[in-house]
Amino acid sequence: MKKIDEDILKYLSGLMNNGEITDFDNKLAVDSSFKERYNQIKEKAGEFSSVREIELNEAYFNNLLPRVHEKLMKRKKVKLIREYALILPTVITVLLVIIMSILDRNGEIDLPKSLASEVVNNIDDDELADNLIKDYSFESVLNMQQRNGEFEIYIPDNVNLSLNSISQYVDFSKIDYSQVENISGNELEKLYNNLSAITFEKVSK
């Protein structure tokens, strides 16, 4: 590109400083060939901006707004579906949690038994016997009578004896504790609580 054309483009772009603009304007006023070239370039540049005057199909613009509204409605629907898509898993999770908690509650029936057997397995016989005798009347366990040449102790109903009071008569290591397995859930829970209290006392000491 010629220097003269570049100067014209600089002028049209607003890249010239005040001094350059004055020089350019002076040259434009006195130099006819320069002015002719300036007009040519300006006209060409103007051709580009004249594109805006081209008529467009008005039907397109009349139809634009309804199309936009339609798209907006569609997006609202999609958004709504997405929100529901989030709600559904939440509802399922809540339901699962409720079901699990109900199942857990049913499982609680067996809990004292399993806890009791756990404690019974981990406690020494003396402690276990002490608690059995304190709170339960185990006639069958402590039925000590003279039978077949052996000495047996009979403890009447509703009489609770402490371990100390009968330990002189009974060898507790020989007692059959298998009946513990047959006692009811409530009894086991009570037993477990007693044994836990003993363990707690021991630990706190």
Partner: protein, 183 residues
């Protein structure tokens, strides 16, 4: 100034629930939006897509319009950014699909310029603009077609006025050289 005041009034009405104000704003700016997108993207289908997207953005974001600038510079900001994104998207698409303008014929059938002479005229302009880098094209379009001042373009693009002048000069130079070559 009247235009600005009127715009703000329409925005306020729309924000307070008057849907017809939005329709009035659309009717006022839809052609400017379309033309800018059209010059940036070169064909009707892309321009239509961007125009619709811009109007949807307007509908959703008008509530956040802060009145710091005029509404039309805010709209230009949206349309020019969307157009640049569309150019990038198309470039990536072309790279991935090895698409070589096979859909040009399809596009011309869907054009909203019915007159053949005018269509040829605009095709000539588009071919010249296609050769410009997107950012230079953006400034050229804003200055030459949308006839905005450098200050307004600076507000839209976030660039300095000096930088914009230099960019416009280079764009104009390239376009003139291409026109000269064809002549």
């Amino acid at each position: 100034m009247m235009e600005k005041d009127n715009d703000f009034e329409l925005v306020e009405k729309f924000v307070s629930g008057d849907e017809t104000s939005f329709n009035l704003l659309v009717r006022k700016y839809q052609k400017r939006i379309y033309w800018h997108a059209r010059q940036m993207l070169g064909d009707h289908l892309d321009a239509d897509e961007v125009t619709q997207e811009v109007l949807i953005v307007l509908y959703k974001k008008l509530k956040t319009f802060s009145y710091k600038s005029s509404l039309y510079t805010w709209i230009y900001k949206i349309v020019t950014t969307r157009s640049l994104n569309q150019i990038r998207r198309k470039k990536i698409k072309r790279l991935v699909t090895f698409d070589n303008d096979e859909n040009r014929e399809f596009v011309s059938h869907h054009d909203i310029i019915n007159d053949i002479v005018n269509r040829e005229k605009i095709d000539k302009v588009n071919k010249a603009l296609e050769k410009l880098p997107p950012k230079q094209r953006q400034i050229f379009v804003l200055r030459n077609f949308d006839q905005l001042s450098y200050e307004e373009i600076a507000e839209i693009t976030g660039k300095s006025v000096g930088g914009l002048k230099a960019n416009y000069f280079h764009a104009l130079k390239k376009v003139m050289e291409m026109v000269d070559e064809k002549d």
